[in-house]
Symmetry: C2
Subunit: 158 residues, 2 copies
């Protein structure tokens, strides 16, 4: 397993190098593998797309799901050059991935100027991020929308 | 402020209704507003795109950033029909949003079958999600990729 993991992490690193050299995003690459087969590989495209959500992991999950025509990647592994941020871990959870394997821990991301670590702290104590106010404003329209879901004939569970 | 918030939450709920009626995703809508101007609105497209990351908030942030040609939404507010999941809160943090305002709390999402709440618990105690293994496998290729970043002439901070 370890040798196999190292092989796929090399692919993830290779993707990251491609993206960084092209100036498309930060130094991050990822791939999704299921039953020994590569089903998606991607790098960060945050700069290229002016999209703060276009992380390597999000992109690789999107491509893998498109290829398999599913939102369920159970049984698959996400290989990523760096320990994922909370956004990407959230994506891995939604995609029902079975494994996430990373090659460098989050401290290295902090060292080169990325906020991963602070964002993990945020989930333990929201007051840490002072620039963001998060607030509930009760809304009947939003409640009605949720209540209507269980009666919706086009409802698909995911 | 409260009246204004309610107005934009109605737009978010309206987006959610459009998406749910079309069968494009769950009952979730969102919009991004800056200086009183709507700069992005979207609903969940998880089903339509077979993409578990295509939440309303992620889509609205992407559209707003594209419109303003930036990855920095500081000064802007994300209005979302339901309290965001950790993936979307992570996206809000990366986008440097100043406010997140939601119309229904996360318990309602649980009630109609979505996993938001479990995913927040995951960030407090990873052992809660039993189907996912997360593992570091130290990789020289990935470390080299990170180390090269600070010397990269195409490096842009975000």
């Amino acid at each position: 397993m370890r040798n196999t993991d190292e092989k796929w992490l090399r692919i993830a690193a290779c993707e990251g190098r491609i993206g960084a050299r092209k100036g498309e995003g930060g130094p991050f690459g990822a791939c999704v593998v299921k039953n020994g087969v590569l089903i998606g590989r991607a790098h960060s495209e945050v700069i290229k797309r002016s999209n703060p959500c276009a992380h390597a992991e999000i992109n690789a999950i999107r491509l893998a799901c498109r290829k398999l025509k599913t939102v369920d990647l159970s049984g698959a592994t996400l290989y990523t050059s760096c320990e994922p941020c909370p956004m990407c871990m959230g994506a891995a959870l939604w995609a029902r991935l079975s494994r996430v394997v990373y090659g460098v821990s989050i401290e290295k991301a902090t060292e080169i100027g990325f906020d991963h670590s602070l964002f993990y702290d945020y989930f333990k104590d929201r007051s840490i991020v002072r620039w963001l106010e998060v607030k509930e404003v009760k809304s009947k329209g939003c409640t009605d929308l949720m209540n209507a879901w269980l009666l919706n004939p086009r409802r698909q569970h995911y």
